[in-house]
Structure formats: C-alpha cells, structure tokens
C-alpha cells in the first residue's frame, strides 16, 4: 500500500515570461483533505490543471499509487479516478441538474434512447449517499449557486472520482452554503475520498484540512500539518516576509476628501453582490491601497468608480458631487484617471499606434482635433514625443509604434503617461505593475508617489501585498466585497493584513 494517493514530483510549467510552477512537489495521502494555499499567481490553479489533464507539464512527473502515469486530457484524469470541481462551473445553463450530471455517460434505455428515469434514479442515489441535496429536475439557470456547486460535485462522483480537486470552492458561496460545504467534505472523506482543496481562505483550511502545502511565486514554501499550526503562521507563509526595497517618500499630507464611496453595492456578472455596502474615503495627497485576493470585488468596485458599471445601491461622490450615474466621458472630464487591471482589454487599442493611444481619451478636444471635427496630426505627434521623453517609454518607431508590438512594461508606462497627463483629481490604478520587470516597477511606483505629492488622490488596487505596503499611505483590506479593516501603512503588520485579506476580522 503506497504512502501517497497522488504525487506530483518536481513539476515545472513555464508560460511566456512566467514560471508558473517551479519544481513543485506535492504529495497527497489517501483519504486526507489536503489544502493548497497561496496568493493569486502563486501557481495553484496551474498545478491542478496539470493534474486534471488540461495542461502538459514542462518537467516533472505524476504518480498514482506509486506508479507513474501520463494525464493528457480530462478523460484520462477520470480514468485514473481524478475529478475537478472548477471555480467557474462548467454547466449547461438550460439543462436540468440530471442532464448535466450524466452528460459524460448518458444511461441508455429502451432502443438506446436516453433513459432519463434511470439517470434521475442514479442521481438520487448519489445525492442520498453523499448528502448532497439537489433537485434533479431543476434547470441550472434557476438554482442557487450552492446547488450548482453540488451538481458539479455530483458530476465527478458520477464518474467515480476518488481524488476530488476543488478550485476555490467557497469563492462564490454564502456563509451558510460554506458551512454546508464543510459538512460535505466530511461526508466525502468518510466515504473514502481524497480531497485537494485550492484556497486562500485560512478559516476553511483550519476547519476542513488535514495538511496544507503553501505555494508562493511558483515555488513550494512548505507543507504543514494543520493541527500543528495557526492561521497567523499560515498567513505569514502565504505572503512571505516583505522583501521591500522601500520607496523614498515623504510622509503624506492629506487634504480634502476627493473620492467618497458611501454604502456602495455592486452586482457581479453572476448576479451576486460583489461589493457589499462599502464605504471608503480617499483624500487629496494620499495613496490608499486596497489589498485583497482576486475575486473579492475589486473589479466591480473599480467599475463603479470609473463608470463602467452602475452600482445597485449606494453613492459615488467626487469632490462632493454625486457621480454615481454619470457617463464615463463626463467622469474623465471631471478628473478621474484610470489605469485598468486588464490593459489589453480596457487600457489600449492594440491595433492603434502609440500616439493614438496616448490621446485615446482626449482626441476630441483641442488641440488634437479642431472645431470642424478634423484631427490635427502635428500636436498629437508632439504630445507623443513629450510623453515618450517624460515617461521613458521605449518604442521602436517612436510615436508610430503599434501598441501591440510594445513590451508590457512600456505599454503600461504609456497608459500611466496618458492618465497622469490628464491631471486627474483622482487617479485609480489597478495592478499597476503586473507582469513588469523590476526597473519598470520602480519607475511606475515613483510616478505614483509624485502624483500624490502634487496633491492628487490616488487609489491603488493590487494583489501584491508588497506593492501595497511599499506604495500606500493607508491600506484597506477587502474580502468578499467588504472592507474588513483600514490601517495606516507605517503601522501595518504583514500577517495581520494577510489575515484580513483572507477574511479574518480583527477587533
């Protein structure tokens, strides 16, 4: 009898520019609940996608029951008894619960027709056995998220999975549904299943997991037995000791309130409340950071501030004026600058040249176009040249460079140049240094501090706690759409913030 049910040994996976998994070894004992903990980008999902056959590793091997196996696609995974409950459910919205569960192996009845009655019977039996309550005839689009997840779980149980991978299962559940899920884990365990739980929620790890492997930046930090450790210790392992270069900055001198969020509620695209009753103030001359793991409402929060989404409740005020329902163009004119999280989707038109991208928000104003509606090339090129010099943007053909052919760092500098050039009262920045090299990171951080010193209000959202600690004057921790706590940066305790990000409230 092997010591381990599953072993992933020395797994390495490289994507362009990133080493997602760096010589990762994961060993899961039979019938245990093993948690995989880490921040965004730590490499957890990649590792599990390899196990489930969605990716091929660039190095390393997988053993099941001691024997080496090759898993090239989900069918292979199922054949080895491995199943995955995805974070974004893979369900057909207008099929019933039963149809979704049996889609992989449809029972046949008389004459080879689909035997729905048999299917329902099997679903009912599984449901009973594992205590997973579902309505076999309900359509997916009309059941709760909690029940949808149970359908996902039943899907892999139906295919006889013995090793069950759960990818951030509680991300979209209500507290009650989370409690039900915890009970489910115990049931599954009692039935002999082995569970790998990908999560960043420390509370769930201490409640449900036996052991935990912590990943950071693609590498294994360590594997611990949960009963021997504390949430604080886990949080420290997850975020690591801050290796900060420290930015030279004078203390902030906050002035009047520029941005005021009052009781803001914003719905996400699944209809759930991604931001709940959130209130926050950002003053001129300060940098406020929002720390949190991806998926806790950051996107929706920024959308409400910039105008990409309308909140379902609460208000957004800019220097005292209610801009909750004001158009995006108006907000730009009133002085909101935005460096978006997804620079390719919202920040740049990749097919446009650098000079065109630099005036993307101001092309309809003089001097870039005149009163007849014609574009003026000369001012635009001059402006681009200035921006290139001021912001050290490296572009092969100068202003004529196509945005698509610029490096990520320079694309980001271009966006920041454009936004800063607008002289916005409020500068909203999301993931400002994602995917950039050290030099670009330093430069961008310096510019943001400069803006603060000019008296602007700066709001930074980042998944990198280091960045937040270095850059910001005040830090708000966001978890499940709510601000769990706000601390001044110089009093900030890494593990405390890490814990808050993971949902642990402190008095």
């Amino acid at each position: 009898m092997a010591d381990y049910a599953i072993e992933m040994l020395g797994i390495t996976k490289v994507f362009p520019g990133i080493i997602a998994n760096d010589n990762v070894t994961l060993q899961v004992k039979p019938n245990e609940v093993h948690a995989l903990l880490g921040e965004n980008g730590a490499g957890k999902s990649t590792l599990m996608s390899i196990l489930f056959g969605l990716y091929d590793p660039d190095g390393g091997s997988i053993r099941i029951g001691g024997r080496e196996v090759k898993i090239s696609n989900p069918n292979d995974a199922y054949a080895h008894g491995i199943g995955m409950v995805h974070q974004h459910f893979k369900l057909v919205h207008n099929y019933t619960v039963t149809e979704n569960i049996v889609l992989g192996q449809i029972p046949r009845g008389f004459g080879g027709n689909t035997d729905l009655r048999e299917a329902e019977a099997r679903v009912a039996a599984l449901s009973e056995k594992y205590g997973l309550n579902v309505d076999p005839r309900a359509k997916i689009e009309s059941i709760t998220v909690g029940m949808q997840q149970r359908v996902e779980i039943l899907k892999i149980l139906y295919r006889n999975a013995d090793l069950m991978i759960f990818d951030e299962p509680t991300a979209v559940l209500t507290p009650q549904e989370i409690d039900e899920l915890m009970v489910t884990f115990q049931r599954l365990k009692a039935e002999g299943k082995t569970i790998i739980l990908i999560t960043h929620k420390l509370k769930e790890i201490t409640e449900a997991a036996d052991r935990c492997t912590v990943l950071r930046r693609g590498q294994v930090v360590g594997t611990v037995t949960v009963s021997d450790t504390t949430e604080q210790a886990l949080a420290e392992m997850m975020v690591g000791r801050p290796v900060t270069f420290g930015i030279e900055k004078a203390p902030a001198q906050p002035g009047e309130v520029v941005l005021s969020l009052q009781g803001l509620t914003v719905k996400g695209d699944k209809g759930n409340e991604a931001v709940r009753n959130l209130s926050l103030e950002v003053r001129a001359g300060e940098i406020v950071g929002i720390a949190g793991v991806d998926g806790n409402g950051q996107t929706e929060l920024l959308a409400a501030i910039t105008g990409l989404a309308t909140p379902s409740g609460g208000k957004v005020l800019l220097k005292g004026k209610d801009i909750t329902r004001v158009s995006i163009r108006e907000r730009i004119r009133k002085g909101i600058g935005h460096v978006p999280e997804d620079r390719h989707k919202y920040g740049l038109v990749l097919e446009f040249r650098l000079d065109e991208n630099l005036i993307l928000k101001t092309f309809d104003r003089t001097p870039y176009s005149n009163s007849l509606g014609l574009l003026n090339t000369a001012p635009r090129l001059e402006h681009a040249q200035q921006m290139i010099e001021q912001f050290d943007i490296r572009a092969g053909q100068g202003p004529f460079t196509k945005a698509r052919s610029m490096s990520g760092g320079n694309q980001q500098k271009a966006i920041i140049a454009r936004e800063i050039d607008l002289s916005p009262e409020l500068l909203v920045v999301a993931q400002p240094t994602r995917g950039l090299d050290v030099g670009a990171i330093e430069y961008i951080h310096k510019r943001l501090v400069d803006e603060r010193d000019k008296g602007r209000a700066v709001l930074v959202v980042s998944f990198e706690l280091d960045e937040i600690l270095n850059l910001c004057d005040r830090i708000a921790a966001l978890s499940k759409g709510e601000i769990v706590g706000i601390v001044p940066a110089d009093h900030a305790d890494v593990s405390q913030i890490g814990a808050m990000m993971a949902g642990v409230r402190h008095a």
Binding site: N75, I106, N113
Partner: protein, 301 residues
Amino acid sequence: MIDFASLLPSILMMVAPILIAALGGMISEKAGVVNIALEGLMGIGAFTAATVHVLLEPVLPGWSLLIGVASGMVAGGLFSLIHAYASISLNADQVVSGTGINLLAVGIAVFLCQIIFHQDRTSAFQIGMTTDALGLYPTVWIALVVLLGVWFFLYKRPAGLRLRSCGENPQAAAAAGIDVRRLRYLAVMTSGLLGGWAGARLVLTETIQYSMSSINGQGFIALAAVSFGRWMPGGVAGAATLFGTSVALAISMVNVQDLRFLPPQFFSVVPYVLTILTLVLFSGKDFAPRAIGQPYEKGLR
C-alpha cells in the same frame, strides 16, 4: 373568403422544403455553428436534383426522381463540408464562409447549366413529383417525418443531448469528454444534407426546372424561421408553416378576390418583417444557443 381548402395543397407544397431546410439550419445552430449558407445549399441541391432527373428521365423513368433527390442531398452535404472545415477547423468567421458558399453555390450551379444545357437554367423535365390521393405531394409527409425524427433525435437520444451541449457550452461538453469538433462537423453536414434535400424537393414540386431564381431567398426565410421559432423543433415548424403560407399566398393571391386590395408584394415581405419584429421583441432574452458563432478553443477558462 379565402378558400384555404383549395389553397392548402399548394401552401403545404411550399412549406415543406422551407421546413426541412429550417430543421437543418436548426441542427447546425444548436451545435453552435451559424449556417447562413442555407440559401446556397438549397440551390446546389435543387440544381443537382433537376439536372440528374432531366438527364436520367428518358433512361430510367420512375427512378430518376429518386436518384435526383438523393444526389441533391449529397451535393448539399458535400458543399457544407467547405463551411464546416472553414468554421470548425480553421476558426473562420462563420458569416463570411457562409456568405462565400452562397455565392459559390449559385455560381457553380448556373455555370454548369451553361455547360450542360447551354442556357442559364436546366432543361425542363417532363414529370416532376406527383401528388397522392389527398392531393398532397409526398414531400409534405416526408417533412413531417423529418420533423418528428429531428425532435426525437435531439431530445430523446443521448447523441442529441450531447450535440445540444456543444452549442450551449462547449467547454462544459469538453469537460464531460465530448468531442465537440466531431459533433459540430456532423451537425453542419446534416444541415447540408437537409438543405440539399429541401432544394431538391422544391425544384421537383414547384417548378419544372432549376434557374438562379428558383430558391429566391427561401433559404434565408428558412434561417429566419429558425430564429422566429426560437431554435425549437415545434417553434421552427410553426414558423416555417407561417412563412411558407406567406410565400404561397404571395404567389396565389392574384387568384383570390378578397386579397386583391393588398399590394402584390405584401405576403412576400411578411416573413422578413415578422422576423425583425421578433428579434426586437425578444431582444432582452436570447433564445439562440449560447455559444453560437464562437469558434471552439480548447483550454479556455
């Protein structure tokens, strides 16, 4: 009074090909592939059937009709392979490849007419399809059978359940182990077979020869019927009947006293106007298969 009883046979005669083509289009779209090429597929089916029938009539009377229809079907199926390859294997824009097929099919058909018959249409055949005891063409009964068959396949057979999932959420289908590409190919080819068949039936019942105006937009009407019928067999049947009736009335209304006050083009326009109205009315909800028109790419989150 419109004497529907006497008009019924000709109405049904026009409804049947539209229904068959629409069912083909529905199958393709249910699997996730837009098929604008129905017009062209019906055209190539009509041309092939008429040509084969005319050529074989003197030699194999009685059989030539059947062989004609069969070859029309095959022609449609082969042509649809081009669309399938472009949209499924090459991730082409499905509207572009469909439009190209429409142009190509009619072009090839009339071109070959020139070569074979030295005119821009086929020669007239002697005997087309004949009506049965009830005065109805067999094509009507066949359309009913196809309708029932399609319904049965999509909703009662495991393969149908799998096919529909490809059009709603191909990622979910793939996660369940379904070969999305293969199913989509089969769906598009089926729509080609049915479209070709519909065209064949149309030319053999409604006229005496194939020319470039034989189909005259009925392929697009079939497409509209899929939309109007909300991608469900029953709905599509109802839509095809409604639209087919409209097309039939457009032709025969000159004979009906009571309808003389309407402009002659009134009934011709009805299917198109209705389709736009439905699209607007149902613009909030979307009844189309969710993943329609998107090329399937592996490994998307």
